[in-house]
Amino acid sequence: MGKLLENYSKKIIGEAGVAVPKNAVACSPEEAVAKATELGFPVVLKALVPVGKRGKAGAIKFANDANEVGKLTRELLEMTVRYFPVEKVLVEEKISIAQEWYLSIAIDKQAKAPVIIASLDGGVDVEQLSREHPEKVLTRHIDPFLGLAEFEAKELWSELGLTGKPLILATQALVRLVRVFLENDAIILEINPLVLTEAGEVMAAASVMSVDDSAMYRHTELAAMVQMGSERSWRPLTELEKQMVEVNELDPYRGTARYTEMDGGDIGFLCGGGGGSLLSFDALVSFGGKPANYSEVGGNPPERKVYGITKGILSKPGVRGLFVAHNITNNTQVDVMAKGVVQALQELGKDPSTFPVVVREAGVNENDAKEIFRTAGIEYYGDDATITEAAQRMVERLKALDAVAAAERGK
């Protein structure tokens, strides 16, 4: 799921014929003042970060003149909204709002269809609204082949209570937004609020849009707007994570190696299989272990990918040992895993007698893998141990290290 910043999503829906407030992007207070002067006062200033609920976070401000624009932009640029430092600000004309509505289009995985959620009570937390006043929220599924017919859009707004010109305009906007959703392989398109202006126009005042990264091959123009790799994390990528994305992209079609840094922790975590990694992490935690990262390798990665990610895992400060585990592999060659891991350990001068490494790798070419790991002095298990048993050994090895250190201090 790739998130788009609001300036991009507004550009896309604007081009599809849905009215949006005039806007411009600014990177400094001076630039914001210049842009605001062009747009005309008053203006709205919004932190351009890929997270929702910015209003609640105080990341949306209103300015009446150039002084206020400068001061408030400076404040915004110093903020961090849900882990994202604000680097850009969206400067927007302030529109006069008569009514605020809610509209979103998303994929209902249970019903296996796109779904529209709409309400005439906009600008609010829709989850809360649907809990407290379910009668005020309407949902409609969309036929993925046919899209939304105009009459269906009309029925929806009419049922909610619109009539007259607002009904006609809202119908038009909804049909166009559904088209945007389907044509861009969106995962979510939320307009909160969709507004009726004092002048009688229907306008998308705020928009949130995410697109399907699996479909980016057919949307090169969109791909440039999304930071790939960012969709898996709740905060911007760390330097180490960015490096690991590069390691993975070096051989894009041969296996995957993903890396997510945790706060703190001392166990380097190199595990494989999507489910196998989740299980391994839970197992370490259940025995009192603290992984320093999460990782997922699989799909038979080449040696340099394994080597690259192992080096990355080991380079995080505070890592005192390495846990390497996989479910019994269907196609991943575990001897290749072994070569990559051992090379990285040796290059970084990690001696398995003082830097515990516990491995559980069974599957394709495991006899060679066993040989490579054991020759390097590494505690190796194949299918003579379960993943959980190996995780327990890892935690025990670190505890033993602590005991030795404590004994040393006691002397």
């Binding site: 296996k112 990694s277 699989g298």
Partner: protein, 298 residues
């Protein structure tokens, strides 16, 4: 019996000349699975390890009466391959391909449903019925017997790799599997936990089912409802991986695309509680499976 696959399955591979599909073909033939035909446009007349290749699935159906298809084509071509399968009258389509666009999945799943065609996946590593030595997909690799022994326990897993590991745990406990199914790790898949539990319920040769789950989706909540309603009455052993993700901020993706926590739904602890309350044997640690199976199935 078993579910979905047995010695009467007539198997075709779409995209058979690709590197991975060719390897899977070889491993499947070595295991004893009869693969009747393959399809790759423009390559009619060739063969892959002795399996004849056709340009169209229609032709493969005419020549061999195939009814079960495995899709190994690249993501951009999956949509068309599935529609081709539906049009050709295939009854069961397993999609191995990963990273299929969601909108494509919505469309072909809708078509398959209309046509009454069962879809497994996308992003499934395969399924296997060891009694008949029939497997489709990469499942088991070149050493199938290591993990998959014939028996009377059904296995359903979100994770491909853990389909093998779970079946191996069943074997380690002294049992075997009737059918093991990797249902696929994507957010949108053809057959959910519930769909397969219904089949296992009807299968006279399955005594119990083990499931391996991940965060996200409503699958386990649906399964719990089935248990409460009495729609599934055999012992159900469930493990839900990814409990650690609950302590992290929302919106983080771990494991498969489907394993996303959002809005409080799909949390492992919640799934575990629901299943437990519905009478399933919920595993605290994965290794608990072995003693529990032995205790309940003895």
């Amino acid at each position: 019996m078993s579910i979905l696959l047995d010695k009467n399955s007539r198997i075709v591979i779409q995209g058979i000349t690709g590197r991975e599909a060719a390897m899977v073909t070889k491993h499947s033939l070595n295991y004893g699975t009869n693969i009747l035909a393959g399809v790759t446009p423009g390559k009619a007349g060739q063969d892959v390890h002795g399996v004849p290749v056709y340009d169209t699935l229609k032709k493969a159906v005419q020549m061999h009466g195939v009814n079960t298809s495995v899709v190994y084509v690249p993501p951009a071509f999956v949509y068309d391959a599935v529609l081709e399968g539906i049009a050709a009258g295939i009854e069961l389509i397993l999609i191995a391909t990963e990273n299929v666009p969601q909108l494509d999945a919505l469309k072909f799943l809708a078509r398959a449903k209309q046509a009454g065609v069962r879809v497994i996946g996308p992003n499934s590593v395969g399924m296997i019925t060891p009694k008949d030595r029939v497997k489709v997909g990469a499942i088991g690799g070149d050493n199938v017997e290591r993990c998959f022994a014939p028996g009377r326990v059904g296995v359903i897993s979100r994770s491909g790799g853990m389909t093998a590991e779970t079946s191996w745990m069943v074997k380690r406990a002294g049992y075997g599997v009737s059918t093991s199914v990797s249902i696929g790790g994507d957010g949108l898949i053809g057959s959910s936990l519930k769909d397969l539990l219904l089949l296992f319920q009807q299968d006279s040769e399955t005594d119990a089912v083990v499931t391996f789950s991940e965060p996200g989706t409503h699958f386990e909540e649906e399964a719990a409802e089935m248990l409460l309603k009495g729609d599934f009455t055999k012992p159900l052993f469930s493990f839900i991986a990814g409990r650690f993700t609950e302590s992290l901020p929302e919106g983080t993706v771990f494991g498969h695309a489907g394993a996303m926590i959002s809005g409080g739904t799909g949390k492992p602890s919640q799934k575990m509680a629901k299943l437990q309350a519905a009478g399933a044997h919920v595993l605290g640690r994965f290794d608990d499976l072995i003693p529990l199976l032995q205790e309940i199935l003895k």
